[in-house]
């Protein structure tokens, strides 16, 4: 029930705007009929719209769409030759350049682009129909940006994994191999658990943007400028934000630890302790020294028994 209202609203808005949008998108040239466009718009609109969405919101949404690019993409997806011509003239070079920028290497870039073209043209079939990747473009961002994103996704999917394998070396350099096995069976020490908990709480309290900034900066090693461009804000804003976040996080964690019964000094120290140290359960690995002989005795016994058997 909840979905019917938006769909009807969308349909009414689409029919209202259709003439306008159809003209604006230059759909004639690329052989996209009004009906086809209307179907596309309804599809997009219904995906976007929720029960709570008002008609005016839907109207705004449609008006904000890049109808021309959407039309082009969909015409291409439908296999319109003139649309493909336009598409290639406009985007071929850009596509290759962005692929090159992402892959940083010519052959990899070409491979990326080739794969992408196959996807864009549509190799997989569904119900006997070619499914073009372009048909997933909804016109919410620029077609060029979308293409870049698609290339980036493709790159990440294909190469990031390889990279991750390589970067195990890096991880081992970081001391990953010394980490104790997954902490779940290990009853964490009070302080460590408290610390992790406090940290999680503090992080959870942050907005998605703040966490994104922190992750991008501290985990991904992005530069401030890159983060700024990702989020569409000025670099100095990000700089201030990272600074502020780091300070406030520290403060909050310490406060949480103090609340949990630590002295302020203990809390500060706990914060400074290397997490890797925390997670290496030295006592346990030391304790293994004594059980180990008995275990091996057993093994010897077993072997002896086997021998006897």
């Amino acid at each position: 029930m909840s979905s019917t209202k938006p769909i009807s609203a969308v349909q009414s808005v689409v029919s209202e705007l259709l003439a306008d949008l159809h003209a604006k998108g230059g759909c004639e040239k690329i052989g996209l009929t009004r009906e086809a466009l209307a179907a596309i718009l309804c599809d997009i609109g219904s995906k976007h719209a929720r029960a709570s969405t008002s008609e005016s919101e839907i109207r705004t949404f449609f008006l904000s769409l890049r109808v021309d690019e959407l039309a082009l993409a969909r015409a291409c997806a439908a296999g319109n030759n003139s649309a493909w011509e336009i598409f290639l003239t406009r985007f071929r070079e850009k596509l290759y350049l962005s692929a090159l920028r992402i892959a940083r290497e010519d052959s990899a870039a070409r491979e990326l682009v080739d794969t992408l073209y196959a996807d864009l043209y549509g190799t997989s079939t569904r119900d006997g129909q070619r499914v073009s990747k372009l048909s997933s473009y909804s016109g919410r961002g620029s077609l060029e940006g979308w293409l870049r994103t698609v290339v980036a996704q493709e790159y990440v999917n294909r190469y990031r994994r390889t990279k991750r394998l390589v970067s195990l070396d890096e991880e081992s350099e970081e001391g990953v191999q010394f980490r104790a096995p997954d902490p779940e069976p290990v009853p964490e020490q009070g302080s460590a658990r408290g610390l992790a908990q406090a940290t999680d709480e503090a992080l959870a309290a942050l907005s998605g943007e703040d966490r994104t900034v922190l992750s991008a900066y501290y985990l991904d090693g992005r530069t401030l400028a890159e983060i700024a461009r990702m989020l569409g804000v000025h670099e100095s804003t990000i700089s201030r934000k990272v600074d502020k976040l780091a300070k406030s996080l520290r403060k909050q964690i310490v406060a949480a630890l103090v609340r949990g019964g630590m002295s302020r000094r203990q809390a500060e120290e706990a914060l400074e302790v290397d997490v890797r140290d925390l997670q290496v359960d030295i006592r346990r690995s030391l304790a293994q020294e004594s059980p180990l002989p008995s275990f091996s005795e057993k093994a010897v016994e077993a072997r002896v028994r086997e021998g006897e058997g």
Binding site: S64, L97, S98, R101, I102, R104, S136, S138, R140, G141, S142, G145, W146, R148, T149, V150, V151, A152, Q153, Y155, V156, R160, L195, A196, T199, D200, L203, L206, S207, G208, E209, R211, T212, L214, S215, A216, Y217, Y218, L219, D220, G221, L224, A225, E226, R229, M230, G232, S239, V242, D243, A246, K247, L249, R250, I253, L271, E272, V275, R276, L278
Partner: protein, 623 residues
Amino acid sequence: MQNVPKIVRERLQAAAPSVVRAGADSSAHPDADLLTAFAERSLPEFERASVLDHLARCGECREVVALALPASEEMSGPAVRGVRTSTRGWLTWPALRWGLVATGVVAVASVGILRYRRQPAAVTLQKSVPVEVAANEPKKQDLDRFVAPETRAREKLQAPAPPASTDSLSAPNSAVAGSTVNGSTVDAKKSAPQPEGSAMLAPQIKSGTNSYHGGVFAANTLPHGGPRVPNQWAQNTVQNNAQNTAPVAPPPSAYPAQTRGQVAGKVGVPSASETVEATSAAPVTTTEAQNLEARQSRDLPTIDRAKPLVPSVASPASASGAAVATITQPYQASFGGPTKKAAPGKMLGYVVDPSGAVLPNVRITVTSSNAGGAANAVTDSQGAWLIAGLPTGSYKAQAEAPGFRTTVLDLNYNADQPSLYRFTLDVGSTAETVEVTAENALVQTEGANIGAPINGRSVTQLVAISSGAMGATRWTISATGGLQRSLDQGKTWQAVDVNANPASFFDADSSATSLQIADKASRTKAQKNKDSRKVAKQETGAVTFRAVAAAGSDVWAGGAGGALYHSGDAGNNWARIMPASAGTTLTGDILSIDFPDPQHGKLSTSTSEVWITGDSGLTWQKQ
């Protein structure tokens, strides 16, 4: 940038996989549409928030967004990452790289400094003027040991004789020089009768020579002298003195006969220490090299006195060392003639105007009468020119200068003998050419027996300089503290360098005005012509003059730091005077000089002292 505690990174990291894992499906990721719209900031707030929420946990989507950024700037993600990791340790690449850079800089700098230190020698050598000439007067005294250490016998240097100026002795230029000359003179005297003393003489002579050249040579060259050249001289001397002419640079002034007699009369017993002292007193001995040279000179083997020594035409140290170093550069001599001769000689000359003032920038062209080659030189600021490498033969030397008559000398040049030629250019139009034929070198060594230098100076042929314009000479101090004179009633002024005498203009008969030992009685009297002037700063050579006074051909110039110079020959030769009275010396800046007549003068200094002399500067009283 603030660093977050490690635990924060850890938990951030931990959050990501769990979410992705929970999502399990890639459908959990926002689609390309959404991400593009996010990156282009065209998402409504709630969608943006959800995308951000996802990005906060999903490294892959963050990466996609970052990679998909438009190309406006070069992506620097990995590069940055590299830098970040590389800054972990001190000895990682950046540190090493900078270390290398620093090392390189240090290496270059030290090489530069080393080179710079060696340079001054060459530079100063170039400056020195090969004009000093010792005249060798054949004397009865056996002065064969006057081997000028500086002489490069190997070079067969032809040391030209100093021209004698009509009216004056050329005095040693500095007081120190003067004193050393004295010393050497006395030593020479002594050594004559005492053969065993001859060994010691070398240094003395040397010092004498140096001091003789004091103005021109020593002051310019030796104090800075690079070690190399002096050593070579010394070595050459050692090698050569026994067999070769080792001309001594005679002390500048041909002393009046009586002086000579005097000196000769006292056969002192100079101790070696005295000698050394004399040597070290000379300013030229300040450098290590100089000392070395002195030492070597001291070790010279005693020359067999019986063996007739080549009368030393003084080869000025400058002529030998400096000339070698400066053959081409200062004099711009180019050798057109056949120069294959094994021991090419040097043709030295100087150019003066009728008053005896040196003429710089005179173009000298020497053409060989037979071979037809030509060599060029231009006189330097001391009016001297030098052409080396010419073979024996007859030459025509032409001197041209704007405003003077071009003068051509026919030269009989013997490459084996030191030779010095003097041009006197008359004022006239350039079109005129005066030909002078068959000019022999002013000084020639004539064989082993002939010259016996007297008192370290040998005067063979002394050429008087016509001094027509003498009375008209006017003096002034330039705005920069340089001494200047005008021979044409002030129309044009030429700088006079008291430290660089172009040539020694001796005249045995003229008065020796400049040395303290000079006999004042022989001084020519000159009309009063007080011309004390301006106070100005800056330096000519090392001296900043403040005042100048001329009394006829006697010219007194004083300046900063007690510098007092006297010329008895209208400025051709200068001697430094150091007034001393009752143990005190004049050290303040001389602000005014007043010489109503050549004998009586008065100085006032910046230290409010007044010094007077009644005997042409030989003695002074402080008031």
